[in-house]
Subunit: 338 residues, 2 copies
């Protein structure tokens, strides 16, 4: 392995001079600078960032922890984070917690020992609190992404879940729906709670009493519980529309409905939070779309500002607006059947 000493020897200078050439610090005569640079190229020298980190006490690495790398929302977040990090001179260490607290803990341990400069953290759930506490104990700056964690005041980039959900449900109400079900992610996740609140807001604004039988708590990762769907549709007064807590839940529901021979939106409207990504043939779902790329990019920016201390001490709370996109999965109740 080529070190600054190898170069120093060849160039008849001290290692220190080489270091200064590399970092453009101090004053070096143009002549020796060129000579050193030439030798660095000839020897294929590459600085050892480990050694550098050790003395500088910074790694120029950030960690991005997301709950589901297969979800296009988080994939796009990752793209945004990656681009921003690279642009600002940082490397990105990805972690995928799989919505799983144990896996998340393993990543937190890894983050600690890797001495990353900061973490962009999308929590598996409210129970991630101790993991955040660990980061804080070790003085590792972090920015929460997408999901808040109760009891933790810190920098955060989130969406306007409550507002978005309200708008989505009001869209259904405007179409004439009155029996609107919500199939949600785990209520241990802040976004799920906020979306539920938005759902109730919309109902209340229209003087419709919420009906607990219409509210299902499942998981953001998938929707597999066919039986629950059956029960929902077999109610004495069944829903005419379903608000899915996220994109994957919506896909799961639609698949089941197809199996059951129920057509959307003719017999049932289905809307959801978050778009489905680039591999969708025919954008079909009426959704509230969030600026996923911006989530990642702004998160990294905030994080780096915090690391460098180029921001005020108060925690920054960035709320990125979502957008209602009406497509073909929603229609007036009994549009065709009635």
């Amino acid at each position: 392995m080529v070190t600054i000493y190898d170069i120093a020897k060849q160039a008849n200078v001290s290692a220190m001079t080489v270091s200064k050439v590399i970092n453009n610090t101090g004053k070096i005569s143009e002549k020796t600078r060129q000579r050193v640079k030439k030798i660095m190229e000839d020897l294929n020298y590459v600085p050892n960032s480990m050694a550098r980190s050790l003395v500088l006490q910074e790694t120029k690495m950030l960690s991005l922890l997301i709950p589901d790398i297969t979800n296009p929302f988080f994939t796009t977040v990752a793209r945004g984070a990656e681009d921003a990090a690279m642009r600002l001179g940082y490397k990105l260490l990805f972690g995928n917690s799989d919505e799983n607290l144990t896996k998340e803990k393993e990543y937190v341990d890894m983050i600690l020992s890797t001495r990353v400069d900061g973490v962009l953290f999308s929590a598996a759930s409210d129970l991630s609190g101790p993991h955040l506490q660990t980061l804080r104990t070790h003085r590792i700056p972090f920015v929460l992404l997408d999901r808040a964690v109760p009891g933790f005041d810190c920098d955060a980039v989130t969406g306007d879940n409550r507002e978005g959900a309200r708008r989505l449900v009001e869209h259904l109400l405007a179409l004439g729906h009155r029996r609107i079900a919500m199939v949600n992610g785990s209520l241990l996740v802040s976004t799920a709670r906020e979306r539920l609140t938005g759902y109730k807001d919309a109902l209340k604004l229209n003087d419709i009493p919420p009906d607990d039988e219409l509210i299902l708590e499942m998981s953001y990762k998938q929707f597999a519980d066919e039986e629950a769907l059956h029960r929902l549709l077999a109610l004495p007064s069944p829903p005419t529309a379903v608000f899915a807590g996220n994109n994957f839940i919506a896909v799961g529901i639609i698949r089941k409905l197809l199996d059951m021979g129920i057509s959307v939106p003719d017999q049932l409207s289905v809307v959801c939070f978050d778009d489905l990504g680039a591999s969708v043939i025919d954008p079909f779902f009426t959704v509230v779309s969030q600026p996923a790329y911006q989530f990642g990019a702004m998160g990294i920016q905030l994080l780096i500002e915090r690391i460098k201390g180029t921001t005020t001490p108060e925690w920054k709370k960035l709320i990125l607006p979502s957008e209602l996109i009406v497509r073909n999965s929603s229609a007036p109740p009994n549009a065709h059947a009635g």
Copy 2:
């Protein structure tokens, strides 16, 4: 920052003893071991992996370089790689080259300075050769993933592109198609060339002369060239089926066809390589599906074997079989129209 010296002082032992407790090396009395462990916990000690890497000359980090993180094929590869790496005690540094040589070079430089122990490399194109040469010069083990690079003999995990393409086209031929177009990725990518060869194999086996007018070279990233599609369909003897080089090309084509009011498979069959991932509502495409998760998992395994030297010196070439899945995007020509 808590170091082994802090612990050593508190425990009235030398730093060396602490190090031995951490690594379970050497002989330490149970009593002092317990005492040291207790203090490590009390002080929230976490080993500094940078310092460790510096002396051990290994980072326990691997790099995964993929060309498109938004493509579900590579997302699934990433999942497989991540799981395998974590299981075997390695961290994974992701990089997304975006099918872009410049970005790829930046990542290679980063990889070099980070001193990762190895790289799982899915090349942007044949022109990635110099980047591989750089890795080799610096003695960083790598395994090629999905895409071969001409002139480079090395470990590799790839698919059976030629066979898969042949089977896919033979499926169309069996349905009665004779005019089959191929819309491919860049021929600078090995998989695109192999798939083209497989396409020609199938035609030849059925005594159909290939027609250059039916073969389009585009990009794996998307299919946006509406005009090319128009020209294709406006040929004196237009195709009755299209073989798309990958999933994204297929999606792009279908979207355009929808816009043009052409229905699939009634008026035109469309098949492709690689599945579309978890966010697809109604699995529609007839595809050749590759075991993406296995690509990542096997790639990491091979890489680690190479790093540890627990494999024979010859380069390992792993070819993972693909599977033809017939769904609803392919049908006999003029199934409904005729």
